[in-house]
């Protein structure tokens, strides 16, 4: 069945653009970094995003995190490929905005009432039965069967598409477990255990998120040096963070 609850933002670009426009910013790398937290907050909190769309939201999230990370941490090395990803997101957002605005113009045109009317098909020509040429009952059966074959019922959530994507929640949970076993560990250790770039990014995001939620605190003694992650001391006082996921 279709998920009939429609989330407020249909896609990640829609959300990102809205956040940027809300702050009356232009589409730049800087402004994307500025709204990164709000973006992630929304993705975490919105329950109506379908699993399929969630994959799209997370894919953009990873790019946003990259941008955010670079704006906070100058030590973060960005490959030329990632550099291009950042630029592409900016371009894509600008392009998306053009069509979103054009859609708004269409709305005005549709409401202007300046529509064109046409005549009905062969108006005034009298009906006579003319048998369809070269058509028999078996053609109808064949056609009908083809139609049945071509019906695509709305997906059943395409689990494969999202199965491999590590969610933010999973990552936060993983860190919390680690923190329980070891009071302190470094970001580079975390990086080493990651399977790929996306996972590093998600890790970093999870880290930012936990700093924000005061689950952890980070220490970096000098620029480019190791980042140490520690359990936030006041954790027991603050109790459970509001967004923590309990398994």
């Amino acid at each position: 069945m279709y998920n009939v609850k429609v989330p407020k933002f249909e896609g990640p670009l829609n959300l990102l653009l809205e956040l940027i426009e809300e702050q009356k910013l232009n589409i730049t790398e800087m402004s994307i970094a500025q709204v990164a937290d709000d973006y992630l907050e929304y993705v975490r909190g919105e329950e109506n995003i379908s699993l399929e769309n969630l994959a799209d939201f997370i894919s953009i999230a990873s790019k946003i995190i990259l941008i955010k990370s670079r704006s906070i941490l100058p030590i973060l090395e960005v490959t030329s490929e990632e550099e291009k990803e950042i630029k592409d997101l900016e371009n894509q957002l600008q392009l998306y905005k053009k069509f979103k605005d054009a859609g708004g113009e269409f709305d005005k045109l549709l409401r202007s009432g300046k529509r064109i009317f046409s005549r009905d098909y062969l108006l005034g020509v009298s009906t006579v039965f003319v048998p369809a040429k070269n058509l028999n009952a078996f053609d109808l059966k064949k056609t009908f069967k083809n139609i049945i074959d071509q019906i695509t019922l709305p997906e059943k959530l395409p689990k494969e598409a999202v199965r491999d994507i590590i969610t933010l929640e999973e990552k936060i949970n993983e860190f919390q477990k680690r923190l329980e076993s070891r009071v302190e560990f470094s970001f580079s250790q975390m990086k080493e255990s990651a399977k790929d770039n996306i996972e590093i990014i998600v890790s970093f995001l999870a880290l930012l998120e936990m700093i924000k939620q005061r689950i952890v605190m980070v220490e970096q003694n000098s620029l480019f040096s190791e980042i140490n992650i520690k359990k936030f001391k006041a954790l027991t006082i603050h109790g459970q963070p509001k967004n923590q996921i309990n398994n």
């Binding site: 020509v125 109808l140 056609t143 019906i151």
Partner: protein, 191 residues
């Protein structure tokens, strides 16, 4: 309102209406006297003739209608007979198959099964007498079904005689897509 504007409006009105339109009605819509409408109609027709236009104003009694120039009659009938006698397009065949196996059926249901708008195709199948429709109610539109003439032309007496009718007419996938569509119409009507 000035005279060219009135003529322009009258042209538009007569164009969209298939039937003769009462002069009084034209006058009311244009917010002018009936005399003014009469004068405009005459001027329009003179103009059409002078310009060798493809249109003509046909006046009968208190009504007027737009038609085509009699000089173009042979070309018009070529178009009409071409439309009526042509082979069914793929879309038309699909629509016909749905109407035959699932009729009586509404346009919305046909569109849910095909996933595309079907209003033009239904009109052309109706036009050719291949399908028929009956009104359900003012608001809920029409039910379409294969015409008896059509069934006869493919050598059967009733839709039940179509190959594998029992099985195909109750296909589950179709039931499901119709159920989904129904649900959507109920819930997200204005989204």
């Amino acid at each position: 309102m000035d005279s060219p504007k009135i003529k322009s409006i009258i042209e538009s009105l007569l164009f969209v209406s298939g039937e003769p339109v009462k002069l009084a009605k034209l006058a009311k819509i244009c917010q002018v006297e009936k005399k003014e409408v009469e004068k405009s109609l005459e001027e329009i027709d003179v103009f059409y003739k002078e310009q060798n236009s493809g249109f003509r104003v046909i006046k009968s009694g208190d009504s007027a209608q737009l038609g085509t120039s009699p000089e173009n009659a042979e070309f018009v009938s070529q178009l009409v007979s071409g439309e009526i006698n042509s082979e069914l397009s793929k879309s038309a065949l699909e629509t016909l198959a749905i109407v035959a196996y699932r009729g009586p059926i509404t346009r919305t249901q046909i569109e849910a099964i095909r996933g595309v708008n079907t209003s033009y195709i239904l009109r052309s199948l109706l036009m050719r007498g291949i399908i028929e429709r009956k009104e359900i109610s003012e608001t809920r539109g029409f039910l379409y079904e294969a015409s008896f003439d059509f069934l006869k032309s493919v050598g059967i007496q009733a839709v039940k005689d179509l190959p594998d009718w029992d099985q195909l007419s109750k296909n589950e996938k179709i039931e499901e897509i119709l159920a989904i569509n129904q649900e959507e119409n109920n819930i997200t009507k204005d989204q």
